[in-house]
C-alpha cells in the first residue's frame, strides 16, 4: 500500500468517526429539544443549542469525505433510532410494540431513500467520469 492510499484510508476512517459522532450529537439534540418543553426549560434549551451547532458542524465535516446520501442516511438513522430508544429512558415515555414497528418502517424507509438517492446519483454521474 502506498503512503498516499494509506492517507486516504485514514482520512476516510476519520470522516466515518466524525459521522458517527454527528449521529450521537443528533440524538442529544432530539432529546434536548424534547426536554426543553418548548424552550421554557433553560438547561435543556442551552443543551439543545449546543448539540444543534455540534451536529451541523460534525455532519458538514464528515460530508467533505463521505457521499452526502450515504452520510445523511447514517446520520438520520442513528438520530432517529437513538431518540426512539432513549426517549423512554429520559422522559418516562413508553415504546409500545406498535410504536416500535411503525417507527422501524419510517426509519428504514428514510435510510433506504437516502441510500437509493446516493446510488442513483452515482449511476447518473458515472458516464461523465473518465
Amino acid at each position: 500500500m502506498s503512503s498516499e492510499t494509506a492517507t486516504a484510508h485514514s482520512d476516510r476512517a476519520r470522516a466515518w468517526l466524525v459521522l458517527l459522532l454527528a449521529g450521537a450529537f443528533e440524538v442529544g439534540y432530539a432529546l434536548a429539544v424534547g426536554g426543553s418543553q418548548g424552550f421554557t426549560v433553560l438547561s435543556w434549551s442551552l443543551v439543545a443549542v449546543v448539540f444543534f451547532l455540534l451536529t451541523l458542524f460534525a455532519l458538514s465535516l464528515a460530508l467533505r469525505t463521505i457521499d452526502v446520501g450515504i452520510g445523511y442516511a447514517v446520520w438520520a438513522g442513528i438520530g432517529a433510532v437513538g431518540a426512539a430508544l432513549l426517549g423512554p429512558v429520559f422522559f418516562g415515555e413508553t415504546l409500545t410494540p406498535a410504536k416500535a414497528l411503525w417507527l422501524t418502517v419510517i426509519i428504514a424507509g428514510v435510510v433506504w431513500l437516502k441510500l437509493s438517492d446516493s446510488l442513483e446519483r452515482r449511476q447518473t454521474e458515472r458516464p461523465a467520469r473518465p
Binding site: 429539544v33 458538514s60 438520520a76 426517549g87 417507527l103 424507509g109 428514510v110 433506504w112 431513500l113 437509493s116
Partner: protein, 106 residues
C-alpha cells in the same frame, strides 16, 4: 395543533438542507446564516410539536418527512431521477406515519 407545528418544522428543515448544501462547508456567510436561522425556527417548532408527541416519534416523523420532501423537490425542480427505489422509500415513510396515526400511537 402538534401536527401543524410539526408540518411547519418540516418545511424549515427542508430549507436547512438546501441552505447547508449551498453553504459549501459553511464557507459562504449568507447561506451559513440562512442555515442557522432556518435551523433555529425548525428546532423551535419541533420543540412545540414535542410538547405532545413522544420525542422518538415526533423526531422520526420530522426528519423522515423532511428527507422525503428534499428528494421530491430534487425531482420536481432539479431534474433528479425518481426511480422505483426512491419511491419505495417514500412509500415506506408514508405507510409508517399513517400506521403510527392509525395505531393511536400519536
Amino acid at each position: 395543533m402538534h401536527w401543524f407545528y410539526l408540518g411547519i418544522a418540516v418545511v424549515f428543515e427542508i430549507a436547512v438542507a438546501i441552505a447547508a448544501g449551498k453553504a459549501q462547508g459553511f464557507t459562504r456567510p449568507a447561506w451559513t446564516a440562512a442555515t442557522l436561522v432556518s435551523g433555529g425556527i425548525a428546532t423551535y417548532l419541533l420543540s412545540l410539536a414535542l410538547l405532545t408527541f413522544d420525542v422518538g416519534v415526533g423526531y422520526a416523523i420530522w426528519t423522515s418527512v423532511a428527507g422525503v420532501g428534499i428528494v421530491v423537490l430534487g425531482a420536481l425542480f432539479f431534474g433528479q431521477r425518481l426511480g422505483w427505489r426512491k419511491l419505495l422509500g417514500i412509500v415506506a415513510v408514508i405507510v409508517g406515519v399513517v400506521g403510527l396515526q392509525l395505531s393511536g400511537a400519536v
